[in-house]
């Protein structure tokens, strides 16, 4: 663990290491994603056109409706999904979806995590310890 560690208030899922995809924008699987092709599809989203597959998504806040609670599980069944989700602010739907899918997610930081993690950096997300955290490898 060489880089600065950013601690979250909550986390679930397994430890993962993957490239980060970072934006100061929200997240909703229904609103923002083309889940068939694995890309951000809402034109107004700051990651529009970017592939999210196998990336640690570092975003601002959970947005939108309740569908993400099912969609993470469906995305995982086809293997077209992010490696993990890291959010400044979570909503219950993300927690519910992550719980159903056994998906890695951490949220709640002292600083704006979208400003702290460089886009493209290899990061490790560890929700398994007493204090869930993320750091640049």
């Amino acid at each position: 663990m060489n880089g600065k560690v950013f601690y979250a208030t909550a986390g679930m899922g397994a430890k993962v290491r993957a490239p980060a995809l970072v934006a100061k924008d929200g997240f909703s699987a229904r609103y923002d994603l083309d889940r068939i092709n694995g890309v951000f599809s809402r034109p107004q989203h700051k990651l529009a056109g970017e592939s999210y597959v196998g990336r640690v998504l570092v975003l601002d806040a959970a947005k939108g409706g309740v569908a993400t609670a099912w969609m993470l599980y469906e995305m995982k069944s086809r293997g077209v999904m992010p490696a993990a989700l890291v959010l400044n602010a979570v909503n219950p739907i993300m927690a519910q979806g992550a719980a159903l899918a056994d998906f890695t997610m951490i949220s709640g930081f002292d600083a704006d995590i979208t400003q702290a993690i460089p886009n493209g950096a290899i990061v490790e997300v560890d929700p398994t310890g007493e204090r869930p955290c993320i750091w640049v490898v």
């Binding site: 947005k63 569908a67 469906e74 602010a89 909503n91 979806g97």
Partner: protein, 418 residues
């Protein structure tokens, strides 16, 4: 989380594997969100269209439905959000047989679980509105925000798996909007103008949602010069929940928990924003920019009340829609619309009445590809916010302007653009 003896027994499998999974799921979610215990709920409402579920989700439901009857039935009244099609009109939307097959399998599974297939996102207008202080586990963000704010009920956003869990266990983790501490306002919105049409109420909801920013924010609005009606609250709340992921708002001197400003802002120290009529105009015009023609008109999201169905019928009388015009309502409203001649009037003018579905929950991307739909006019700010991700370009306009565009071959003129 602290568990009662019954909850401990559920966790140990005494009520079967479905209840055991359900309470484990709820404990994981409750643990993540800081719940200390459970609260009993009186109703649950499940969002589970098959575009969201996919084959994996349908098979997951079917596995529970195969359990013995005594182990699989919900223990509180549990109802459903819109389905992914209207079987009677699926051919008009070019829904494919595989979509209908997934829908049938899902319905069969839910029925085996004892779920009531109401297929509506306006249950607060048509089924059984919750009362002030009633703890419920509702899915569909529009249902939650209306129930919390207008009815004074208590629910968090409960996605499909969690709403089903609540149905099976009869309880939900006590966090968020089940607690008094989270129901106070966190930002004050000073409205310099009161919206007129439903799309204006939706636009105001969208603006406030963007200002709020996340689920844990509770806006309180002041300055409205009249009490909004149920459909106006519906469009405002649905857009606020959609744009901001917000689950509760207060309107001072209007909604039940905000009879006085001090009721929801005890210490008066709170961030404040002004919203003007110009803000509402700018919000809407940003969507219609560079769109001069639309391929279809959609009235949906939320499903239309009987009053909205009547308004659509009135606007279409003596006219003819030259492009598809979809009026989507609930299975509870549809028979009344049929009986009162509203369906006949809308369809005689070239419109299509659909029931039990919602446009964006019904394979919107596949419908676009199959029908050549790209540009869409609607009076729903919520639909406007969602549908871009499915490849559509939406224009947000009044119901009258949408009908005008439909009867002008899809052209949006200066006269129609508001």
């Amino acid at each position: 989380m602290r568990l009662t003896d019954e909850e401990t027994a559920m966790q140990a499998g005494a009520f079967g594997p479905a209840v055991q999974w359900a309470i484990d799921h709820q404990i994981r979610v409750g643990g993540y969100l800081g719940a200390e215990d459970f609260v009993p709920v009186t109703q649950a409402h499940i969002m589970a269209d098959t575009e969201s579920l996919g084959l994996a989700g349908v098979e997951w439901l079917e596995a529970w439905a195969r359990l013995p009857a005594a182990q699989r039935r919900v223990r509180v009244p549990t109802i459903t959000d819109p389905r992914g099609t209207d079987f009677a009109s699926a051919h008009k939307l070019k829904h494919q047989p595989w979509m209908l097959d997934l829908e049938r399998r899902t319905i069969h599974a839910f029925e085996a679980l004892g779920v009531l297939m109401t297929d509506t996102c306006i249950n607060y207008q048509t089924i059984m509105p919750p009362v002030r202080g009633e703890h419920v586990a509702y899915g569909d963000t529009g249902v939650v925000i209306y129930s919390n704010s207008v009815c004074g009920a208590r629910s968090n956003f409960e996605g499909g798996p969690s709403a089903l869990s609540a149905g099976l266990t009869g309880r939900t983790p006590r966090y968020g909007y089940h607690l008094d501490a989270h129901r106070r306002a966190t930002l004050l919105i000073q409205c310099a103008a009161t919206p007129r049409d439903l799309n204006d109420w939706g636009a105001l909801g969208g603006i406030v949602g963007r200002l709020a920013g996340d689920y844990w924010q509770v806006p309180a609005l002041v300055g409205l010069d009249r009490v909004p009606g149920s459909d106006e609250m519906k469009h405002f709340g649905a857009a606020l929940a959609s744009y901001g992921s917000v689950a509760l708002f207060h309107m001072v001197c209007i909604t039940p928990e905000a009879q006085r400003l001090e009721d929801v802002i005890p210490d008066g120290d709170i961030r404040t924003h002004d919203v003007t009529e110009a803000d509402i105009r700018v919000f809407q015009s940003a969507y219609a920019k560079e769109i001069d023609t639309v391929d279809l008109v959609v009235f949906s999201a939320p499903q239309l009340s009987l009053v909205e169905m009547s308004q659509v019928a009135d606007l279409l009388d003596g006219r003819h829609a030259d492009i598809p015009l979809l009026a989507i309502t609930s299975p509870q409203v549809k028979p009344d619309a049929d009986r009162m001649g509203l369906t006949r009037r809308i369809e005689a003018a070239g419109g299509t009445v659909l029931a039990g579905m919602c446009f964006y929950q019904s394979y919107a991307r596949e419908m676009a590809e199959a029908n050549g739909w790209k540009r869409l006019a609607t009076n729903s700010a919520k639909l406007t916010n969602i549908i871009g991700g499915y490849g559509y370009r939406p224009a947000l306009m009044s119901m009258a302007a949408c009908v005008e565009a439909a009867c002008a071959g899809g052209r949006i003129g200066a006269r129609t653009q508001r």
